[in-house]
């Protein structure tokens, strides 16, 4: 094969290499959130109430235990799941019974949901029950918010003040 044909062939290969890398390193573009939408992140962690109340142990019961296990109260670790509901413009878009984490179900229940919604004004309502044995929703919030295009709205729960936060 003639030299110039070999060099042309090599040049073609390098050109293909450059074109392939150059194109797929940036194209086609990917749209995560459309430009006319907004993103809502509904996320919090909250420990449910203990499912079984602590029991005070009698002296006789304590005597049966090894010295290092003699605590005055016996507290089963399992916590209640959370009942969570999130509504936008009067329509429930998330409703779940969120189980606590951990092998003994003794850790907080996590919620992490994301919703892509049209930008504009929306009415939000969130409520949560952390004791499955009781009726109703003791934690409740509602708010009207005008979402800008591509705004990220975070709806969290403040475990100190025991209330939902819109950020």
């Amino acid at each position: 094969m003639k030299h110039y044909v070999r060099y042309l062939g090599q040049g073609f290969c390098y050109l293909l290499f450059i074109a392939f890398l150059g194109y797929f390193s940036g194209s086609p573009s990917y749209t995560h959130v459309p430009a006319d939408k907004a993103l809502i992140k509904f996320s919090f962690t909250h420990p449910g109430k203990r499912l079984v109340a602590c029991v005070t142990q009698t002296r006789a019961q304590l005597q049966k235990l090894s010295p290092q296990l003699r605590y005055g109260k016996k507290c089963p670790r399992e916590r209640s799941p959370l009942l969570v509901e999130f509504a936008m413009d009067g329509k429930v878009i998330y409703n779940a019974k969120v189980q606590p984490r951990g092998l003994s179900k003794d850790l907080p229940s996590p919620v992490y949901q994301r919703f892509i919604v049209p930008a504009g004004e929306h009415r939000f309502r969130v409520r949560m029950q952390d004791d499955i044995r009781k009726p109703g929703y003791p934690y409740f919030a509602k708010k009207k918010i005008k979402l800008k295009k591509l705004q990220t709205l975070v709806i969290d729960f403040n475990n100190v003040r025991k209330q939902f936060v819109f950020e």
Binding site: M1, Q10, Y14, F24, S25, S29, S43, T45
Partner: protein, 545 residues
């Protein structure tokens, strides 16, 4: 008795495996892929030559891109601010204010990482299609899958560190993906809910991970090639210069740029996407996190298990005949998989202190060691002809018997004995030419003394068909065969053998026509000795010694 039972079972077992539906599907897929690779490699062979063919150095190119990444990465690190607030500004500085060096370094860093993915994927596909991922190569195949993961993680972290909109998108989506695993107590993606939640500690941890992973990667890549003799860990200089220039040109034409700075109050919208690394994130937008885990996790596991799917019969490994072995080390030097080593003798031999030993787990039964052994000669007499290192299912005596029978069967005018590697163009269809044929597991399995023997016992010529230069199924067999014939490697072809009566052909499995044509030319040249068919051809595809 047990040997008889084993051999009686082998044929039905192979029959079951070969009639297996999965096996047939696998072979069909491999056939299509192999054809495509061989056609492409045929072109690149013609343009680059076998010594610079990029397809023969995909692993070496991957190593090379890693070196480029380390060098450019160190330069970028000098100017990089590892805090959340300063990261973006520092990257913008090197991209725009120092475009002539820092900007180019950044672009080369990015494109070299993309090229690394490209060469790794091609390397893996080529191994798979050419059926070079099981047996002795299983270790390299299995260790290659985590390497791919490590490269992906390192590259993704690199995008993250720019801390622009793309970095923000990657950070949040990665943790949302990880959070799907039920072992995570609190969603880690909550770290990215607000700008205030992002800490320098977390960010610096990511920087350190991005810097440390390549070190592990380099170590893991060395482990990956650990079981191979003479692995190609460096590309030839011409190829290295070529790809470096290509990366430089691409960096100048299409420099890597950042998106807008990250702001967790604003959702990333349309992103310039690097599909080499970020394709998985596009899947997250289409399918659930669970499905993505199944595809990525299940896919990786399936790829790792491929060498055992379907289970195949393993050929018996080489066996050393201690009393014949002189410990000359030739087989140790020739084994492509480092499956032979020398050990101190325990039999109190009068003259020799070392003896060869086969590591059965590494041996692929290619038979190359049989041809390395100086004892492997058919000229020896005796009741049982044996080499110092034997293939139990096809020993020296069996090969000699097969050759003698083949010589007796020659029907054409030019009495040519054809030795053909079974992993390249099939020699079965050459029956019509009337030449005697003898199939070998590898061209490197042929002891050169067999050529001498054949020519002294009725053959007019000997034709050897081997894999393409630089592309041996058993890695080094064709190279060793060629060097033994040309006298560059021991045991070499004796000087008394007339070279014009020996032809060494190299070609791909798809190049059957070229093989047939070359063989016919060789047969004709034997009738007219003054005609020279071909000297050592420039492209290295075939040669008449």
């Amino acid at each position: 008795m047990s040997t008889l039972c084993a051999s009686a079972l082998e044929k039905p077992l192979m029959s079951i495996v070969k009639n297996n539906f999965i096996y047939r599907i696998l072979k069909s897929i491999q056939g299509v892929g192999q054809w495509m690779f061989q056609q492409t490699e045929g072109l690149t062979n013609a343009w680059f030559g076998p010594k610079n063919n990029p397809f023969y150095y995909l692993g070496g190119l991957t190593f090379y891109f890693l070196y480029v990444l380390v060098i450019t990465g160190i330069y970028i690190l000098i100017f990089y601010d590892t805090s959340v607030e300063g990261a973006y500004a520092s990257v913008e500085y090197i991209t725009h204010d120092q475009w002539y060096l820092g900007g180019i370094m950044r672009s080369i860093h990015r494109y070299a990482s993309d090229a690394m993915i490209l060469t790794m994927i091609l390397h893996m596909l080529r191994r798979f299609y050419n059926d070079r991922y099981n047996g002795g190569r299983t270790f390299s195949w299995v260790t290659g899958v985590p390497l791919l993961w490590m490269v992906f993680i390192t590259g993704i972290l690199g995008y993250w560190l720019v801390w622009d909109q793309l970095g923000q998108f990657i950070a949040v989506r990665t943790f949302e993906w990880i959070d799907w695993l039920p072992v995570i107590a609190e969603p880690t993606a909550r770290n990215f809910l607000t700008n205030e939640g992002m800490t320098n500690t977390l960010f610096r941890l990511l920087v350190v991970t991005h810097l440390a992973l390549p070190l592990f990667l380099l170590g893991a890549m060395l482990v990956h090639t650990n079981r191979l003799h003479l692995p190609k860990v460096n590309p030839p200089r011409q190829l290295a210069v070529g790809v470096t220039l290509a990366l430089l040109i691409l960096s100048l034409l299409h420099p890597a740029l950042s998106h807008a700075p990250a702001d967790l109050r604003i959702a990333p919208s349309t992103l310039t996407f690097d599909w080499f690394y970020l394709g998985i994130y596009a899947l997250m937008g289409v399918w659930s996190m669970k499905m993505v885990w199944i595809i990525i996790g299940g896919g990786s596991l399936l790829i790792m298990l491929l060498p055992w799917l379907p289970p195949r019969k393993r050929d018996p490994v080489a066996v050393v005949e201690d009393h014949l072995c002189s410990g000359c080390n030739l087989c140790v030097e020739d084994c492509p998989y480092e499956a032979i080593r020398l050990e101190p003798r325990t039999d109190n031999h009068k003259h020799f202190v070392m003896v060869a030993a086969v590591v059965s787990g590494k041996c692929v039964s290619c038979g190359i060691c049989l041809a390395s052994c100086p004892v492997s000669t058919p000229f020896r007499s005796g009741p049982a002809l044996k080499s110092a290192i034997e293939m139990p299912d096809r020993g020296l005596q069996a090969m000699k018997t097969e050759m003698v029978e083949a010589l007796a069967s020659i029907k054409c005018d030019s009495k040519v004995l054809l030795f053909g590697c079974e992993n390249t163009a099939s020699i079965d269809k050459l029956q019509q030419l009337g030449v005697a044929r003898m199939s070998l597991r590898c061209s490197g399995m042929l002891p050169v003394s067999f050529i001498d023997y054949a020519l002294r016992n009725g053959a007019d010529g000997v034709f050897i068909s081997a894999c393409r230069t630089g592309d041996c199924y058993h890695r080094l067999g064709n190279r060793w065969a060629r060097q033994r014939l040309s006298g560059e490697r021991k045991p070499e072809l004796r000087g008394r053998v007339p070279r014009q009566r020996v032809c060494f052909h190299q070609g791909a499995a798809a190049d059957f026509d070229k093989l047939a044509q070359h063989l016919q030319q060789f047969c004709q040249s034997l009738k007219r000795p003054q005609t020279v068919v071909a000297n050592v051809l420039k492209d290295g595809e075939q040669s008449l010694l």
